[in-house]
């Protein structure tokens, strides 16, 4: 399962919102942090808002804030907003040869493991994992 750029951006953004549940963050702020255009990120955040994962904050200094339940929301809940999880098959259609079918079966096996992993990790677990990684990592690599 290869995640698209928008999906990765959504995951980074959601983790950031969940880590700062009391703050609202502007699109420009997050875009600058991840080196992407605010216009591009706006589409991602808008989709997250439609899903109820973030909520828009209006007015001066507006932006978005986390609106999900970190104990319930999983990485797969975010990914599923941006990827065709069940529909996308490798190459499309039924593989023509036995070799292609065998390779497709192996790819499917790997995909199922990946999906199960993403389904099992809540935002709360993810934040704990980040904390542990930060403790292990050298200080200069703790920013992302």
């Amino acid at each position: 399962m290869k995640l698209q750029k928008n999906t990765m951006l959504a995951l980074y953004s959601v983790v950031e919102f969940a880590a700062n549940p009391d703050r609202h963050l502007s699109t420009a702020e997050i875009a600058a942090r991840h080196g992407v255009s605010a216009h591009h990120l706006a589409k991602v955040l808008s989709e997250l808002a439609r899903a109820g994962i973030v909520a828009s904050v209006r007015g001066v200094g507006g932006g978005y804030r986390f609106a999900g339940n970190p104990r319930r929301l999983t990485l797969m809940d975010v990914i599923a907003r941006f990827e065709d999880i069940d529909g996308a098959k490798h190459g499309g259609g039924e593989p023509a040869t036995a070799t292609a079918q065998a390779l497709a079966a192996i790819e499917s096996e790997i995909d199922e493991m990946a999906k199960a992993t993403f389904r099992s990790i809540t935002l709360e677990t993810m934040l704990r994992l980040i904390e542990r990684q930060a403790l292990r990592a050298p200080a200069n690599s703790r920013s992302r």
Binding site: M113, A116, R119, S120, E124, R128
Partner: protein, 161 residues
């Protein structure tokens, strides 16, 4: 025996299972799996219910006189060259007591038993669609192990060459 408080401010004791706990264990398991397995649990009790500091552990969580959760595991030695590890093969918490720290207490208690037995890894295996329990283990800090579970349908093995 250790004692702590869950989020609902309820005292939770974790202790070795007793025979009189079996009905509650069977009921908790049946509620989770939809399948009452009294014979299985009696057999688990016979194998794991006797105090055994070295290898086998069957613990329950009790609050207000009620058994509200259980965990079962053992030290497994050198399977396919893997050094001994603490293997958890059953854990569950009564539905109305979830998210009160009962599962964490149970896992922590059995992990301490395993550590006392000298092992340094805790392992388990479960169906990949068992999101509830998978998420619980993940929340406790467990990560994918360097093993791949494999299976085959016995009726479909290729003919010997």
């Amino acid at each position: 025996m250790t004692r702590s408080r869950g989020t609902a401010q309820t005292a939770i004791d974790v202790r070795d299972v007793r025979r009189r706990d079996l009905d509650a264990v069977i009921a908790i398991d049946a509620a989770a799996t939809g399948l009452p397995k009294p014979a299985y649990w009696r057999s688990v009790f016979r194998r794991y219910g006797a105090p055994d500091e070295r290898a086998r552990h069957f613990l329950v969580a009790e609050t207000g006189g009620d058994v509200v959760g259980f965990v079962v595991g053992e030290v497994r030695d050198w399977e396919f060259g893997s050094p001994p590890c603490g293997w958890v093969f059953g854990i569950d918490v009564r539905a109305d007591m979830r998210e009160a720290g009962v599962g964490s207490r149970l896992l922590d208690a059995i992990a301490r038993r395993f550590a006392r037995a000298g092992v340094t890894k805790l392992r388990t295996m479960l169906a990949r669609d068992n999101t509830l329990v998978l998420s619980f283990f993940r929340s406790q800090g467990m990560m994918a192990a360097p093993f791949i579970p494999l299976e085959m349908d016995l009726g479909e093995s290729p003919p010997p060459r």
